[in-house]
């Protein structure tokens, strides 16, 4: 399989990465080279093999339903790029078109 420039741009949007045109070009070459190698996996007969779900068999890991302290609001916010009134501040995502 081989990625077109358009597909690279589509994947970059899915990944939320604003790439420059130069980056799109070099990533297209890199990804196609890597995918070319990855495709050797098709040599394996995997028809009847179940996929690995977990490396070690562990089932139904549960703990007691006890209340334990979590991060305080102060600690949770200490790395916030912007904050206001004890909450993370983000660009406005609702409201009208008047940029109010």
């Amino acid at each position: 399989m081989s990625l077109s420039e358009q597909e690279v741009r589509h994947v970059a949007m899915l990944a939320r990465l604003a790439l420059t045109d130069d980056e799109v070009g070099s990533l297209q070459g890199d990804l196609n080279s890597i995918l070319g190698h990855i495709d050797t996996i098709q040599q394996l007969d995997l028809e009847s093999v179940p996929p690995t779900a977990h490396a070690i068999p562990v089932v139904n890991v549960t703990r007691g339903d006890a209340i334990v302290p979590g991060l305080s609001r102060e600690v949770a916010l200490m790395n916030a790029p912007e904050q206001q009134d004890g909450a993370f501040l983000i660009p406005q995502i609702t409201g009208g078109g008047d940029d109010a």
């Binding site: 690279v8 990465l17 990533l27 394996l44 070690i56």
Partner: protein
């Protein structure tokens, strides 16, 4: 004042010396920090040095000595942690611009357990950005250097964790291993480096790369010190549901017990692969002969499916990484792009500005592999291949206690020598299958190669079954005693007055 020569000591010497009042933990901290001050400008193994935390830990030990209390098992041992592990009072940057100012909000369980065992935390170790790399060169703070030759890579991604031990800056360090990131830098720097069985050590507080593969483990100069660290950090943690409820074993005793009667196999088809240098191949075969002379029986196995490990890994690991790294969006922590017009613009530019080239490459590869229409062809196939690789190991362990293969096909290369991403990826061919299967493996130095006048360590990888760390330590310890290599790197040999 003159400083203690820490390079001549092992962890047990430090703890015993403090207990016998030959020196204080504070003197150990001062000596270790003086070495860092003198040498780490060149080696760049640490992103952050933490004298306040080291002295506070030393003072707790010295107070215990004064009070006549019982000392913890690794009292006063100088230690450092890969910079993807949280420790309150330090930044946890993952060597990435996007986390350059991130302050740890809580403690990583493995780090906290090692500190509870008495170590002195000296700092946070340089690494490939988000652990994406095999050379240390993707670090946004600049690469760590190999103490055996500063013009060469120390391996990666736990580049600084390996370099700090090899340069005698820390006696033990923690790294993380997703596809070889502990064992391979161990091979490059002549250090003992263990990837424990998946689930043996909690990953809580370690920034996730590929959650079905990641495991924390120790670096040290000796097998016994490595075993000591594993005893301290292993075991169930309610904060990591993948950690397994298995009690610590006496790994230190295991490291001393020898290989008499052990069944050991050379992985023949991997050893014979193209790209393995003659020096590496010969050293591995010589190590096998030493095991035989020490009373082990030596056989051979092939692991034909494991040769496809790289293909499976470079689907699974980037896929999981692209998912794990979705959290770095500029909202709750980390870098945020200026003057965003809306949230989409904020995400897109924050991530473009914050991530380096290799991180973007992995995110793109993983996002593509998981995108609509491609999931079955890539991720689904890779998870099936993983089952075959695990079965292949399980079959081999029906007949053998441990398996031998090189840790890396070659010794440490020069900076810039692998500029093509695929050639860098292929260098992890011998370590990746163990992560995919989930069992354990250790690097132990087994010889040296000469390249352009530099003496460079060669690493043997000893692979064990699930939770067979005791056998792995037994074999590694026996080889270490038998070979008695001089593992003092040029940087480690530098005395600090």
């Amino acid at each position: 004042m003159s400083h203690l020569d820490l390079s001549a000591h092992r962890a047990a010497d430090i703890s015993d010396g403090i207990a016998r009042k030959e020196f204080t933990a504070r003197e150990v901290a001062e000596s270790a920090l003086a070495r860092i001050e003198a040498l780490d400008g060149d080696v760049h193994s640490l992103n952050q040095v933490t004298p306040d935390i080291a002295y506070a830990a030393a003072d707790r030990i010295d107070a215990l000595v004064s009070a006549g209390g019982e000392l913890p098992p690794m009292a006063g041992v100088p230690a450092a942690f890969k910079d993807n592990m949280n420790l309150i009072g330090t930044r946890t940057t993952c060597s990435s611009r996007i986390l350059a100012n991130y302050e740890s909000a809580y403690d990583c369980t493995a780090v906290a357990r090692l500190i509870n065992a008495g170590v002195l935390p000296l700092g946070k170790c340089n690494m490939d950005e988000f652990a994406f790399g095999s050379s240390g060169e993707t670090s946004a703070t600049g690469p760590a250097k190999n103490p055996w030759d500063l013009g060469r890579i120390p391996g990666g991604s736990s580049a600084g964790s390996a370099a700090a031990v090899a340069a005698g800056l820390a006696m033990v360090t923690l790294g993380s291993d997703t596809g070889g990131s502990i064992r391979q830098p161990g091979a490059m720097t002549g250090t003992v480096a263990l990837k424990p069985t998946y689930g043996r050590v909690s990953r809580y507080g370690c920034v996730a790369f590929a959650s079905s593969l990641d495991q924390i483990g120790p670096f040290s100069l000796t097998v016994e010190d490595n075993a000591r660290v594993l005893e301290a950090i292993c075991g169930k943690d309610s904060m990591d549901a993948t950690s397994v409820d298995r009690p610590a074993e006496d790994f230190v005793a295991a490291s001393r017990r020898g290989v008499t009667g052990m069944r050991i196999a050379i992985v023949r088809d991997m050893l014979d692969m193209e790209g393995v240098t003659p020096e590496v191949r010969d050293s591995v075969l010589a190590a096998a002969a030493r095991f035989e002379s020490m009373g082990a029986t030596i056989g051979e196995v092939d692991l034909p499916t494991s040769q496809h490990g790289i293909s499976a890994y470079y689907i699974i690991a980037p896929a999981e990484a692209s998912s794990n790294l979705a959290r770095f969006d500029g909202i709750r922590y980390g870098h945020r792009a200026e003057n965003p017009v809306d949230t989409l613009d904020l995400y897109m530019r924050t991530r473009a500005e914050g991530f380096g080239t290799e991180a973007k490459r992995r995110i793109m590869l993983g996002t593509y592999a998981l995108s609509a229409g491609y999931y079955d062809a890539y991720y689904g196939q890779a998870q099936k291949a993983r089952t075959l690789i695990a079965r292949e190991f399980t079959t081999a362990f029906e007949d053998y206690d441990v398996l031998l293969m090189p840790t890396s096909p070659q010794v440490a290369w020069k900076f810039g020598a692998k500029s093509d991403p695929l050639s860098m990826y292929l260098s992890d061919i011998f370590t990746i299958p163990v992560n995919l299967a989930g069992n354990c493996g250790i690097n132990v130095p087994c010889g040296f190669a000469e390249e352009d006048g530099a003496k460079l360590p060669i690493g043997l990888q000893i692979i064990g079954d699930y939770f067979a760390e005791a056998k792995v330590f037994a074999a590694a310890g026996a080889l270490e005693r038998d070979l008695a290599l001089d593992l003092r790197s040029p940087a480690l040999s530098v005395p600090v007055a």
